[in-house]
């Protein structure tokens, strides 16, 4: 008889912790991890330091290359899932291969969010979510002197710090979209402005972008309601949204993320969601929440795996905790509004 096949879609902290937990609990299970990026699991939060040259690429990787093989976990990298059929329990990859599963953990994480009103300019924005993004930034920064940061999130602050360390001129535009999904009130605005200014960042407050135009390979012109700017690159940091569009109409309940119960179960037996793509109702918050951050994802991946093999562990929102980055307080433990 064939062993039960558990497939994990995703290759981030939730996915990998789920795979390791499953293997730790069961030697018989056949485990496959399907990742879209063509590289093994790395610490995305270190990407700013990789871009600045402080860390080498090898410093980013979590495990040695042979780790999954030695644990008998099949790692399929660079493979995009096109859709999932829960009736037939099949995953369809974009090269048309069909992968059967008995149980499934979806841990695909998030993708950079661009507010709808700015999506028309998406081609001119650079993100810093993946290693591929980081490589683009490294190349770009060889010739770039002035960088405009729009939006604002945890990554943008550490990246700003890295850019300043590289001697770059950084302009930070703060408006109502900044530090989403935090409520960006006047107090936070002045706190952020003060800290950034003290670090040598030029802060533009309450600007609305009216247009962006690529003037050349190395120049972008930005028109706001107050001025015209010319910079070498524009970094967009508007937070992340669950990467679940490929599951639309699959039958899963999807709101912003995949709706799961306290045990991270979806509406299909044996199918779980964990990490930044799962959305859970929390009675104390009286709201749904989606975790962000490496530690939360790691924890949820573990819970999903343990529940999949018979556990009964509730995924509870971590009490509101404040991360301090560069002296600026940012809540990353959970967020409730999108």
């Amino acid at each position: 008889m064939n062993p039960e096949h558990c497939v994990i879609i995703g290759n981030g902290p939730a996915a990998n912790e789920a795979a390791l937990t499953l293997r730790g609990e069961s030697r018989d299970l056949r485990i496959t991890v399907i990742g879209q990026e063509p590289v093994r699991h790395y610490k995305a939060y270190l990407l700013p330091e990789y871009v600045s040259g402080k860390l080498a690429e090898d410093d980013l990787y979590v495990n040695p290359p042979a780790d999954h093989r030695e644990r008998d976990i099949k790692l399929r990298l660079g493979q995009k899932v096109e859709t999932v059929s829960f009736d037939t329990r099949e995953i369809i990859l974009d090269h048309k291969e069909v992968v059967r599963f008995d149980s499934l953990i979806v841990a695909v994480g998030g993708i950079p969010r661009i507010p709808e009103r700015l999506q028309v300019f998406s081609d001119l924005f650079l993100a810093l979510k993946t290693l591929a993004d980081a490589r683009i930034w490294k190349q770009k920064l060889k010739d770039a002197e002035t960088i405009l940061m729009v939006g604002g999130d945890l990554t943008s602050l550490s990246f700003t710090k890295a850019l300043l360390a590289m001697g770059k001129r950084v302009i930070f535009m703060i408006n109502e979209d900044s530090f989403w999904p935090l409520r960006f009130d006047d107090e936070i605005r002045s706190q952020v402005t003060e800290r950034l200014t003290a670090k040598g960042v030029e802060v533009l407050n309450r600007r609305t972008i009216k247009g962006l135009a690529g003037i050349s390979e190395n120049e972008v012109e930005i028109e706001t309601d107050a001025e015209k700017l010319s910079v070498n690159a524009v970094g967009a940091f508007f937070g992340l949204v669950p990467n679940v569009k490929f599951l639309a109409r699959s039958g899963l309940h999807i709101d912003r993320g995949i709706l799961v119960d306290d045990y991270l179960r979806t509406r299909f037996a044996g199918v779980y969601a964990a990490g930044d793509c799962a959305q859970v109702y929390h009675p104390e918050l009286r709201d749904y929440w989606v975790s962000i951050g490496y530690k939360n994802a790691w924890n949820l991946g573990k819970i999903a795996a343990l529940n999949l093999i018979g556990g009964k562990i509730r995924a509870q929102a971590v009490a509101q905790s404040i991360f301090r980055v560069g002296g600026i307080a940012v809540n990353t433990s959970w967020w409730t509004e999108f």
Binding site: E82, T83, I92, K96, E116, R117, Q119, V120, T208, K210, G211, A248, R249, H253, I254, D255, R256, L259, Y281, P283, R286, D287, Y288
Partner: protein
């Protein structure tokens, strides 16, 4: 071609015309069209979509407009506001094939570029000497009036509002539907002598009994103008309005008073119209509150995107519990909801989560959760609300010569559904009054050749509708049309993407040498080695029994429901045994004086 011939070689009932054109009434051929031209089948009015897109590609916009108008009557209107059931069935949107063709946007291009002097051809008939009164000048009523007038009936339309159009005029904001476009198409509909009387409310200004006495038939197509209520405490507080009242006031230029923080409760097109109109009337923060998820919304993805782009927030999985305020609205208390299974009516079952109460402050609340028909004093059977009931198949009420159609009969539907219903009701009334049929649907089959479509066109990305940007420029003036419309070049590029599913590819089994070159070049599993063709009792193909055992192969068959009409098989066939024909579901005026 008929599917039936492929299987049984039986001759269907057909009518041959000159030029190799055949009109078929064979149910098998209707079944073929139903499966293989999914866009046309999804359109309630059965608009011949491949045909009009092909005309747009050929830059024959006038003809493209006429193909539309012949069945849906309002191409310029629908090109802007149709709910696009066709696009969700477009084969180009199937998994691995990309995005659906922008069918609706091409329709608008046909309207925009047809030329101002376009003369609308129409076959008309002499008068059978019958009079019909249509109550309501909305899409259903106007469609019925049009069809009856073109076959010679003396038609009078009574409209309660000051101007015709119904929800098209009073429900849809001008930023989505410019009134000059609406006026032009209504004028064209009324041109065959339809008498329009506005400002007349049946039951108040004239009694139904009198209409039944004066006219040979009366059709009630009065739409839905009673707002559904939330039935929660606080609903009567000042600052709370119904979505219907809000849009009617806004569209009648009686600008409703709106606050800074607006909550719109509802999930349909009307709710979206309310939210976007509120923004244009000066609201600062507008939120749409929906019971289920965005995925469950019945509006188009474009609508959701544009709404968000204008800065409107969609708050999902919430249900209102009570409206708060002291002398005026101050906010709404909601409960979170959990989604359940989908109900038979397509809506999502939701479960409120007890103990999840929370409040969203607001100074205006618009409730847009649906409408119902307003009871009209009338003889005849009614439902429990007092609204006249009718048979959905015949549109007849329990009173002879009294009919009901459109949203009045069914509850709120889409514009295209209303138009189709109005037209069907007109045909039924004409038959009942004269004993004759005036229009019928047939399958038109014509020999065709390969088109100039190139395989590379299948990979052209969908051309998005250009819209006014930046967003701030949309809001002033508030009636500024948001969607700009395709340019000629954009329409041409998008039209290239259509597979032209009305083309039918068929292998002549008698000449086929089973070389299988066609299978080798097929871009997907559309050509099959079949052991048996499965048909239903009408002879329509319902499936193929495929085989890999050479000894069992009885035919090489093209599965037209999988075929993307690339033509590669025709080009590669060494025996030239693959034929192409054009199959269209068309409506025909039977005879200027009807056909018994």
């Amino acid at each position: 071609m008929t599917c039936k011939n492929l299987v049984t070689n039986e001759q269907p009932s057909t009518e041959k015309r000159a030029g190799g054109v055949v009109y078929s009434a064979d149910p098998a051929d209707f079944a073929y069209a139903r499966v293989n031209i999914p866009c046309q089948e999804a359109c309630p009015a059965y608009t011949d979509i491949p045909a009009y897109i092909r005309c747009a590609y050929e830059r024959r916009y006038g003809r493209s407009y006429e193909i539309n108008r012949s069945v849906n009557l309002f191409p310029g209107v629908l090109g802007r506001i149709c709910s696009r059931p066709c696009e969700s069935k477009c084969r180009h949107g199937e998994r691995e094939l990309g995005d659906p063709v922008g069918i609706c946007h091409i329709k608008r291009a046909a309207s925009d570029f047809k030329g101002p002097g376009r003369i609308h051809g129409e076959t008309i008939a002499s008068s059978p000497g019958k009079t019909v009164c249509v109550i309501g000048a909305g899409p259903a009523g106007l469609a019925a009036a049009h069809d009856l007038s073109t076959i010679g009936f003396d038609v009078t339309v009574l409209e309660a509002f000051d101007e015709p159009g119904g929800m098209l005029r009073y429900g849809i904001p001008e930023f989505r539907l410019p009134r000059n476009v609406l006026k032009q198409e209504i004028d064209t509909i009324l041109r065959f002598g339809v008498k329009l009387r506005t400002g007349i409310r049946v039951g108040t200004d004239v009694a139904m009994e009198e209409l039944l006495f004066r006219f040979d038939a009366v059709l009630v197509a009065a739409g839905c103008y009673v707002s559904r209520k939330l039935d929660v405490p606080g609903e009567n507080l000042p600052g709370v309005s119904s979505g219907l009242a809000f849009v009617v006031d806004a569209n009648a230029r009686r600008a409703p008073v709106i606050g800074d923080d607006v909550l719109v409760i509802g999930a349909g097109f009307s709710a979206f119209d309310c939210a976007r109109s509120a923004l244009r009337l000066g609201a600062r923060n507008v939120s749409l509150c929906i019971r289920a998820t965005e995925e469950d919304l019945r509006v188009t993805e474009d609508e959701i995107f544009e709404t968000k782009r204008e800065g409107i927030t969609i708050r999902s999985l919430v249900v209102s519990r009570r409206i708060l305020g002291n002398g005026k609205v101050e906010g709404v208390e909601f409960l979170r909801t959990g989604p359940g299974d989908r109900l038979p009516n397509g809506r999502r079952h939701i479960t409120p989560i007890e103990g999840s109460e929370f409040v969203i402050p607001a100074d205006s609340v618009i409730v847009a959760i649906g409408q119902g028909a307003e009871p009209i004093p009338s003889p005849g059977e009614t439902d429990r609300r007092g609204v006249l009931t009718a048979d959905p198949g015949t549109f007849r009420t329990s009173v002879r010569q009294l009919y009901a159609a459109g949203d009045f009969m069914t509850g709120p539907t889409t514009v295209i559904e209303s138009i189709a219903a109005g037209r069907r009701a007109a045909e039924q009334i004409a038959r009942d009054l004269t004993g004759k049929r005036f229009r019928e649907w047939a399958i038109r089959i014509e020999e065709a050749r390969l088109t100039d479509r190139e395989r590379s066109w299948d990979f052209i990305p969908r051309v998005e509708m250009p819209a006014v940007l930046p967003v701030q420029d949309r809001l002033h003036p508030p009636d500024r049309q948001v969607e700009i419309g395709f340019s000629d070049e954009e329409a041409f590029e998008e039209a290239k993407r259509c597979y032209l599913c009305y083309l039918h590819y068929e292998i002549d089994i008698d000449r086929c040498i089973y070389c299988r070159y066609c299978i080798d070049v097929a871009p997907r599993d559309c050509i099959k080695l079949v052991q048996e063709v499965v048909t239903d009792e009408q002879g329509a193909i319902t499936g193929f029994v495929e085989t890999n055992e050479w000894g069992r192969v009885s035919a090489v068959a093209i599965d037209n429901s999988r075929c993307i009409r690339c033509g590669a098989c025709v080009r590669v066939c060494p025996m030239d045994c693959i034929s192409v024909s054009k199959v269209q579901k068309v409506e025909r005026l039977l005879h200027p004086w009807g056909d018994t």
